[in-house]
Amino acid sequence: MLLAYIISGLVIMGFMLLRFFAPARRADYLNSLAIAQSAIFLILSIASLIYIPQPSFFFSRYLMIDQLAVYGALISCGIFLLASFYARGYVRRLVELHDIEVRELRLFYAAYNLLLIVVVFAFYCNNLALFWILLELTTILSAVLIVTLNAKENIVAALKYVFTASTAMLFSIIGLIILFALTKQATGVGTLNWDVLMQQAASMSPRLFTFAFVFIFIGFAAKAGIVPFHTWLPQAHAKAPSVISVLLSAVLLNIGIFGVLRLYAVAHQTAAWHDVSLILIGFGVLTIAVAALSMLPRGNVKKLVAFSSIEHMGFLLVGIGLGTPLALFWVLFHILAHALVKTLLFFSAGILHQQYHSNQFEDMKDVFTLQPLAAWGLIVGSMAIIGVPIFPVFLSKLNILTELADYSLPVLFIILLCFLIVAAAFAVILIRTIPQTGEIKHEPYRVSVSMKLPIMFLFAGIVILGVYFPGGLHNMLVGIVNSLGF
């Protein structure tokens, strides 16, 4: 199965790299390849969900397909597919504006496709060390994607990203090694395979496990944008082209969270899980608070959204830390909801940026007349992301908070206040921006269908998901929660 992934991936890479085959509209040609790949991967993931017995292992148990992995892969492939469609119009425009040079296109799309492959395999990892490696690879690739744009700030942003993320990641190697030694001590032979860890967790010394966990957590936290290792995130998201911001926010952050989730699943088997929960919830609350407060004075739409991603990652961390089956169920749902809404927000922001060549809110005049779709995308997205009803975030928010009440009421109250601030931040921006009218009239930039369609789709998607809970999804999530041993 996984071979199928690799082969198809490589074939398409091949098509991309064929030097002699260089059609006139290279952008569209490469883009079609990207679409093709994400489509194929989506299909493959669905297929592996249906036809592959879960869990099943590959490549001497380095890789594994279980429901959690497939869930992650499905979300990522879906987002990638939408992004690829969006990219068709978006990148064409970028080329017109010389924001990106034609000669960079191959690099761009190659990195794009590689990223997809790496992401999918990161989800399919069974071995934590391998997972670590792929995680580091995603950093490299996304950094490349960020710097393909013609701007110095992008390089700065990328450097910050690379350094902050990978310095933290080094610590998680230390953690992994300790974990390895721990298993070795527990059962003669050391291993970092997740399934084995799950089985042997009980026999490890809880103190040492926590010790290891803390170190591993540092790295994953950095990738998931957890305060205080989140510092790279806002700039990277803001500077990257919106397509890439989508991937960074809706896909890459999830990988970090999935890593934490798997680790926590192991921790839950040991006696150490109370301490671990404490750590996670502590970091979660800190993250939410810092993100919420930093959102208030933001005038840059993409930065605002980026901070809200940080805040949501913190919230997910809290949810994981609670460690009750219900909480985890809703955490998984929240990941999906967050991915969809964030995609919508960044797509709209992308359109607005191409209209006004700026992410600053005060530059956006006459939004409703120029870009009604994007404007509504922004409004609906904000409403959805602050978690008001008929949008899915509300459900997961309410339920995770309900679980939190059993853990601690004061914490619950603090988080609620932070959410209030977040809501205020979004409201301030939108209400000040959306109605403002300008004297100098821009000519409306005609948004291509390939950019409109994904947005339409997302509108429908989030509304439906907000009021209708598919039974299949329900069973799947329940299955995942069980397979994680809760």
């Binding site: 000669r103 960079e104 950094a143 710097v147 110095k152 690379v162 050391g190 010394s205």
Partner: protein, 225 residues
Amino acid sequence: MINLPVLDDITKILFVLVLATAALIITIRTLTSLLNIYSIQSWVIAAVAFVLYLKNGSIVLLLLAILTIASKAFLVPFVMRRIQKSMHIKRDLEFRYLTPIGSILVGTAMIFLVYWSFSQFLPELSSETMFFPGAVIGVSLALMGMMVIFTRKQMITKILGYLTMENGVLLFSLFVAELSFIIELLIILDLVMLIVLATVLAFGIDTSIDEFHDKLNSFTLWFKE
């Protein structure tokens, strides 16, 4: 399998050397000599690996030693020299947050701190005598590398700091070892790619966008038009 106490002493001496190099990296201002110091450090690490191999002859360690020398003592410094040449930067003068002296003091503090903290756990983890000191030295080396990153101004120096952190981690891992070799290999490759990228980016900061993109493509050769 030779088991002589002398080996442990050698290891200790090597540790001291490692720390010395780290201290130098923190303080020295000239880029070229920084690079040299770094490759020396890598040699030392390799030596530690080799000594450990002599001690409990697991082949992985030997391979690691070779790999380290290959990548860290030759490849990476080579790349960086090239870049640095084209960047026309000779020395890195300013310091932030900490003066060299200050950072060395903090570094020492780090060592004690890590020692205290780890002494709560690690002794019970491995029977290997040198494991605990190795771990302490490794982690503190990593922390010192981090200090280099945030005290020095030049990108090149920062990258060296990062490499130092890596060395620290490597040192740490030597004593637990036996991550399956493939993993070790991948990790190292991964890091090398990272360094290359970082170096190119660093180059991009100090030159025009076009030169940067040329360089970028030249490092990802097959993308060139």
